[in-house]
């Protein structure tokens, strides 16, 4: 194409030729993207924008009265709401425990099943089973296991020769959140194991061979080859686990409904409860907005911190 056109374009003025070509392509390219873009605008950008607008109104899901601008009322109410602070604390507690524990466990699993081989592939599949199982189903199962006469307590009695009786895990204010944490890590750890694995596979094996020749121990290999080699994977995993942890909802809804005494209420759970069950869209939008600010600042902070380390 270019060979046949080149002499003509040179003769007739190249600029106009290229410009008209760019124009048709511009139209075509946009047309291909338009359906997806339209859906993203309608179901993402507008709702996100509405979150910022509705948070300053008294909007209700279904209301005979027109929506009114109420300024910062929702936020004032929110910051005076003890349930909000409790939910925020619970969410933070969940994230602070889950992020390091889950990422470390996932890395451990990944190292255990890294490499080729039928056995390793089998175990990889096995560890991944909870990930494909719905969190709703998993929550039901664990609710059953955490019951006073459930599997967990029976197991505890067996292992400790009836010295420990266990407790009603989900109905005890001091154990409900830890119980949910254990279950959540169990469910999602396989997902992050696979991401660590993909990171491990990018590290060239000759580095390990060279280290082995130098007589490096397993720990040295991990410290000086594996850990630095996983820099990018680390950032990705940290951000995804944090965002997922902050969005804690289904487990709470199925297992505890926020109880006992709001000890497992989370920000998203509270937002859904006010916005859906109580139909207070405006107030729920304010909660969502605070939550969004939280998520965004934490992931930006993580990016910043991990980037800072890279420079050194």
């Amino acid at each position: 194409m270019s060979t046949t056109l080149a002499p003509q374009a040179a003769a007739a003025g190249a600029p106009s030729g290229t410009r008209s070509k760019a124009k048709t392509r511009s139209w075509v390219g946009f047309t291909f993207t338009a359906p997806a873009l339209f859906l993203l605008v309608v179901f993402f950008f507008i709702p996100v924008g509405l979150c910022f607008t509705l948070a300053f109104t008294n909007a209700r899901l279904i209301s005979p009265e027109p929506t009114q601008f109420t300024g910062l009322d929702n936020f004032q109410r929110l910051f005076e709401d003890p349930l909000f602070w409790k939910s925020l604390r619970n969410t933070a507690f969940f994230a602070i425990v889950v992020v390091p524990v889950q990422s470390a466990l996932a890395l451990l699993l990944a190292i255990l099943v890294n490499g080729q081989g039928r056995a390793k592939n089998f175990f990889r599949t096995l560890y991944f089973v909870p990930v494909v199982t719905s969190i709703v189903v998993v929550s039901i199962l664990w609710r059953f296991m955490y019951a006073p006469q459930g599997l967990v307590n029976n197991l505890l009695q067996m292992v400790t020769f009836n010295l420990v009786d266990g407790t009603d895990w989900l109905n005890n204010t001091s154990t409900a959140m830890p119980a949910i944490i254990v279950m959540s890590i169990w469910q999602a750890v396989g997902f992050h194991m696979v991401i660590w694995l993909s990171g491990l596979q990018t590290i060239p094996s000759d580095q390990y061979e060279a280290a082995a020749l130098d007589g490096a121990s397993e720990w040295d290999k991990f410290r000086f080859i594996t850990w630095p080699g996983l820099k990018e994977t680390r950032t990705f995993i940290l951000v995804t686990i944090t965002i997922a942890a902050l969005g804690l909802f289904a487990q709470i809804q199925v297992m505890t409904s926020g109880g006992p005494l709001d000890s497992t209420s989370t920000v998203v759970y509270q937002a859904v409860r006010t916005g859906y069950s109580q139909q207070q869209t405006g107030y729920a939008s304010a909660i969502s907005l605070v939550f969004f600010a939280l998520v965004l600042s934490i992931s930006l902070l993580q990016r910043f911190l991990t980037r800072d380390k890279d420079v050194r």
């Binding site: 291909f32 859906l39 599949t125 990930v131 969190i135 993909s198 998520v295």
Partner: protein, 307 residues
């Protein structure tokens, strides 16, 4: 590589070899114990779904809880189907997930094609807009979205009269359309399309093929792995979705499988049927996973590397 290591270590071969086997056995026993920890709730669920309630409870104090022993029957499944419209829920979930995957594959690959293989003004802006949506979790805008879809118009008909109605609550479309366009799917297609040589497009253009033709007959047939990844990564959340249907579906006939679970809490039914229902909604995904486990794990892995 293997030959060089074998040659280098040939002098000391027997000793390390024995050491490695001993260690390997230990490692595999450890791996197996871990594997049991990950599999046992699922095994427990499947096994319990076949047992009467009294036996589930009496077995709980021993290893029998994980073994299909005793009075086994499909009774729980029958009770489930009698108390809950489980088939209807399954059909709804299949419908919603399959349509979401199909529409998603089409629309997102189309967008990725436009973004990766065509040069146009505004391309960079659109691409960064799409990627920006990746950092916002669904939970943060679910409630404004609920309010918004409740005010969206839709054309319906009554006999031959077309009506302009408002509100999407309690429909199939509200379970599908918000999840069709997906930045992550676009991104997966986008990066896959980058690896397909652009010369193919040029050649087809010379032959007079339209861009849509190139998309349909050249790029898509070469994108099997990307199609598999996107299908899996769209299907799984669609099948497992809970928060959104909980908010937008009230009518029983429209409920997906995960909402069916709340029935059991409301009706306060026995655990056996509940385990049967949980098994029924888990087995399809589990079967899909075991059949395609390599692509499953591969698609999650590739999502991590490039993300």
């Amino acid at each position: 590589m293997t030959t060089t290591t074998a040659a280098a270590g040939s002098r000391r071969a027997p000793k390390p070899a024995r050491k490695i086997t001993g260690r390997m056995i230990g490692m595999n026993v450890g791996r197996l114990l871990l594997g049991m920890f990950f599999a046992f709730p699922i095994v427990f669920m499947l096994v319990s779904s076949l047992k009467p309630d009294e036996q589930i409870f009496s077995d709980m104090s021993s290893l029998k809880a994980f073994l299909p022993v005793g009075d086994l029957s499909l009774e729980n499944y029958r009770t489930t189907l009698d108390t809950v419209p489980a088939f209807r829920f399954l059909l709804n979930s299949i419908m919603v997930s399959v349509v979401t995957v199909a529409l998603g594959l089409f629309i997102n690959s189309l967008a990725a094609f436009g973004l990766s293989r065509l040069q146009w003004k505004g391309r960079g802006l659109v691409l960064s807009l799409v990627l920006a949506t990746l950092v916002v979790p669904f939970e943060t805008f679910a409630l404004p979205l609920l309010w918004w879809v409740n005010h969206l118009p839709w054309l319906t008909h009554q006999g031959f009269t077309i009506l302009w109605t408002e509100g999407w609550i309690d429909t199939y479309r509200v379970q599908i359309l918000p999840f069709v366009a997906n930045a992550f799917s676009i991104y997966l297609f986008y990066s896959y399309f980058q690896s397909i040589p652009k010369e193919l497009d040029e050649a087809a253009r010379v032959d007079g093929a339209s861009w849509f033709r190139i998309y349909r007959s050249i790029v898509m047939p070469l994108s099997g792995p990307a199609i598999a990844s996107v299908s899996i990564l769209t299907f799984l959340p669609a099948w497992n979705s809970f928060l959104w249907p909980l908010m937008v579906v009230q009518t029983e006939e429209l409920r997906p499988v995960m909402l069916g679970v709340s029935y059991f809490f409301q009706l306060n039914v026995a655990w056996g049927p509940m385990m049967a229902y949980s098994s029924m909604i888990t087995i399809p995904v589990l079967a899909l996973f075991l059949a395609f486990q390599r692509s499953f794990i591969g698609s999650i892995a590739s999502s991590g590397v490039k993300g």
